[in-house]
Symmetry: D3
Subunit: 287 residues, 6 copies
């Protein structure tokens, strides 16, 4: 269960309206790596958590904090939209500055949300749940989380440098700091899990069941061998189970595939000009 | 530019058809963490790469290999569908086994693709490009890649254990082994980058510009303090820049937000029963 | 079955082209609450209608009218696009007015539709069928319809005030008037249904089967009690079955959830460092 | 800002696992009218609220409660999945009951989420933000909310009757009761707003600007006049501004549309066999 | 403007309910090549038509007919759902036939639409507007239409053979016949347009502006030359402008791409370990 | 299996950056008819091909070439973005040219991809797999391919005329030429298939099973008979099986649909005020 506190977690007050920037800021609210994504991802990972209670608690702590970040951004965007122009086309055409604001805004901020934030990204694309993952394997999921916080901090930093509004920068400096913490947090949690299990996800699959002769081979599928210079092509593997090797000219190991003709009821392409009889039954019937 | 080799990278031959399993196998072909995702993610990261050429080459090597994995899965699924039943409802209703196959199949495998693989996931949802990321920051992106290979290997392992078909298991054992390599590869590449820059993404943002008093604080937003037990709540931070602290009762630091009334042309809700006059102009006009 | 009349239901003639406005006008054609939505929603509600024939007839009447509204908007947008500039970047860069038109247009109006309307919204997002509902319960659906006409009229009014083109305003004044009717129509139909059944949807579920102690309680989940001032917190309920009460400090009534560990074949996170044996079978097998 | 309480708002304990039912229950978690929808809709309406503070507070109260409903459903679904079978195809083919469970499950519950809830609907389609609305006009939005609670309660009732598990029914009886309250709440809030403004949304648009001769006309666009029998075709209108009239044979009031030929750079279809010269400039250039 | 006729264009009466088949039949209602697609595609092509009036009229004739096909399918599906079981899980587990029906149904047909048709496909995926095209070039669009009718007829034929219900087959035999006409119609219209312009779309682009040395070359990008046997590799080209040639070993004609480093404000990957200074300005500023 | 060649298939070097054009060019990379679409469509058609090996080989040849086109466009877009401005709002507001560039850019090119190409269209909408088709019937699919190449060439031509950059035009002239070849190729392949089977898709369905009295009738569903003038209304049909006829006033041939009331467990609308008893069982149970 949840409770709401009226105060925002941190200040969210722009110095002045800026509807074009409001459109851009939507990216870190409702984009692929925006705050809605981490909010939903952490909450669902917490609710589905079948591991130690400290992980469930930690996931719900951070998931709950992310709701507050969504709240800050929504309030910020609403204020940035305060001055959205509704001026009609004719006048605007004579004032390129106003017109370029109109052109640079998300029109839905005026028509649909009435100067409110939307759960969409900076291209106006709605947030969707396929941005999130909760797999039931916490090591896998914490890597997803570290990635999300890395992409997220990168995007907030880019937005920080795209504005000079001190109020906006103040709020973003808070979000950047929290992303610093959250990247560190997931690195810490990953190391902890890698110590209790192996670094390979999932650690519980018997490796003798995998095709081990290709488990540590870097395969060079292009002309040129620049890719041989990396750590991935030499030395011990990171799971401590093998040694990287560089395969300069990997060979195909499989068959040339030839598929059976489709049964008549599929009405596929006749093979060699001969049309199979339309029996009305399927290959399956015959078995 | 690319060339095609007729042989598959590895064998993809099921022992017998299994259209219900074909539906499930679509997940690792066209799902959120399927082979199309890593194919497109690595290729685009390679094409957009502004870093050292060895990274571009490496990304395109592995992206090119992933096209071959898509190819193997597509051919496997087509063969698993060979025996898809078309039997009409009446007869099937008397044979629960056939009926349950019909119920468990993806109907589009018969109606739409004519017993061919689709670029969709196991729920029939089409692959889309928001599954991928290429940010221009390789450390961020390699973390995305490590996550994708972790989720992907986990899914393939689950599918491996859901079948006893030796031909299917043979192919999956190859994909699992390659995912072993690819997880190791991204761990290696991540370490290499963390040595030339800092572990924090992006490493180039001056940390004095972030709100540093909250950069290493774990905030406990729930009743109970199980979350205090983790590595993330104590000791030095992973970027080597600070020390984790546990904030048991975090306080709100921001304002209680109060938004301005909307201008008349928005036709929002009248505040306190008073309707603002409909001037036909906007707040922006007045400035 | 349907017939087409060549004349539009009402005039749709702009005074002059305006490709930036064409982009905005797409919202009420192909947006969440655009004319395609109500067209499809009313037609499907009519076709699926299992109630009195007068409702089916009424739904198909209004659904048929909405096809005509889609037609008017499509024709209007095509005409607004007549003057879409194709001027190349260099020249435009010297003429900010042309450039801002290029920037404010939907580029697909030129590249994809060749100066034609698209079934998309003002952010370029395609219409999709999850915008509509037909539940088989007409009272529920008429509330959906009243909402759609309320949102729709609000959006058209905002667009009316964003242009001074007398031809566009003339057409929009017609659509606004029809939305006036349609809001009134759904209010009338709702009242009629609330008189033959109860106001609660669905009216046929025995209320003794619901947890009646919380059926009329407003729960205050935030600091501060401004929400106690509303009609929803005092007095008789609107379905005539209870009395609103205000719960200032709602208590949790449920368990602290603890989930079972996942079976081995899921390869979840080992609990307390102990990895369950990989038996290759499932919990389900044992039952 | 938000706080999390470890206890669920109400019990969420199934009597036994039922993975087929888990798939169905996803509808009211992540579907068009599931709990994620109302959670996000109420929170965003609250954050964007520019009206009286009691509305903002009320919206955030109920939005915060809905997060708890999402939490209950997620925990319930995870427990319903406890017994998801992983049995391989061969054995299952001999046991139609197991096979039909496999066929009736959402395969992603096993492959992707590892027996956890997903933010998806019962067809496996991911939740997306276009399910929500926050328009800045509270009367419009409260109608959206009343609709959402009507559709939602209807769906939960249908799911209640699709199971006999007493634990599941207990939880659903709580959700149904809360939906009873929430329908009543929005009816109360709607009446309150209709008293301070008019029933027509938006109430602030001058009606003399709409084409008033069609503002209260029901138009019969089909053969037969069953639709004349409804309250919408006779008597005073619900906004108190007019009288319904029934137009048995509505006439077209608009032009037969004829569009201009496209400029050459569009490469449209030559009209009457004559291809316009490819000037490389646009109609816009000439103006 | 449109009128509705109460009678269906053709009979749509199943002999008995079949909810599993109802799910499949959704494909040709709301799928990629279902009737909603052709309805919307033809109507928008008609409304946007800038060519001869006979094309506009023809497109609107056929688009109007397609609304009637959507109507027939919606009514058919509603009737096929009449017998959808609501039986609870326990009993069903003892009756595999009922259970397999439950497993094979689209659960939304019960929970969401209350035994009504949905504008979705057979995988439960909602129809969306990106299934349609109207480009302003009728030859291009008529090829899209011929494709849609080819895919559509193929799918209806497959569905025809998946049922033995005489009522369903009767309706499908009508739709198949109309698809026969519509394929023929688009072939006729295509030939007519190819006679007034060239077969190449668009015919109005000066071919001297294209890289003509590769305009008629088939390039063999794979090992083996089976592809040399087709008509596409020999003889005159179909636009009458060239001669096909087979290029057995196509050479790359372009550069090895090397991208510039990103400016500092992008926070990309440092090149060769050197981090560009964070100047806070962009490359663009300097120009 | 695939190999990568470092050189691009053809040059992709712009003369100078142009971030607004980069946004537009995304259409032919990741749009409905962009290069990703044809790449994925041809590869999947090839992998699923159950016909003659020359078709499989040919499809994989051209699919492999399309990967190279995706590569060229991605590299071109990355270079066009080199000069994307990051200038802050204040300064830009004084320089309308810069501001209009900011307004005309896709903001995700800066925030998300860090000056890299995205697998999206020009409206920022992500590529999805429902853009593609592989039906198992090659004649149907080759018509899809001819359409894709027609729409694609049309869009590239429009983009060619929207720029004067000689480097961009050089690359586009290559893509236009390849589209010339590919349109010709599909025309050739279609003719070849129409000679070995009939022109009607599918050719294997017995036409006596279709409702032949309407197989060659053009039905006039609108006022006016301009549509009678086309080739589709007169003369022999294109499949050589019938003669077109023009039906000026088509009659409805079907029933007036009346649906059964829903069973009680659906909680639909009570018919004629009478609420069916809530038996808790379904119509299905009774059979």
């Amino acid at each position: 269960m949840f409770h709401h506190i009226k105060e925002l977690q941190y200040n969210a007050k722009p110095t002045k309206p800026d509807p074009v920037y409001a459109k851009k800021l939507q990216e870190v609210l409702g984009g692929q790596y925006g705050e809605i994504t981490v909010m939903m991802q952490y909450l669902f990972q917490g609710w589905n958590c079948r591991g130690d209670q400290k992980y469930r608690d930690m996931l719900l702590d951070i998931g709950t904090e992310e709701i507050a970040h969504v709240e800050m951004l929504a309030n910020m965007i609403a204020q940035l939209l305060d001055g959205a122009p509704a001026k009609e086309q004719d006048a605007a055409a004579q004032d390129p500055v106003i017109e370029s604001v109109l052109g640079g805004m998300n029109p839905q901020h005026m028509i649909v949300s009435g100067l409110g934030a939307k759960p969409d990204d900076s291209a106006g694309y709605p947030w969707n749940a396929r941005y999130t993952i909760g797999s039931g394997n916490l090591l896998a999921d914490f890597r997803a989380n570290l990635n999300a916080e890395s992409q997220g901090r990168l995007q907030v930093v880019r937005l920080y440098e795209s504005t000079t509004d001190p109020g906006v920068r103040d709020m973003l400096s808070f979000l950047i700091a929290r992303d610093t913490m959250h990247q560190n947090q997931w690195m810490a949690a990953i190391e902890e899990l890698e110590q209790t299990q192996k670094a390979l996800v999932p650690s519980t699959f018997p490796q003798e069941n995998e095709k081990q002769e290709v488990s540590y081979s870097f395969m060079n599928f292009s002309k040129g061998e620049e890719s041989a210079q990396g750590r991935w092509a030499n030395g011990p593997s990171y799971d401590g189970q093998g040694t990287f090797e560089y395969v300069a000219t990997p060979e195909a190991m499989g068959q040339v595939p030839i598929l059976n003709p489709a049964p008549a009821y599929i009405h596929g392409t006749p093979v060699n000009g001969s049309i199979p009889p339309d029996t009305g039954t399927s290959a399956f019937d015959k078995s």
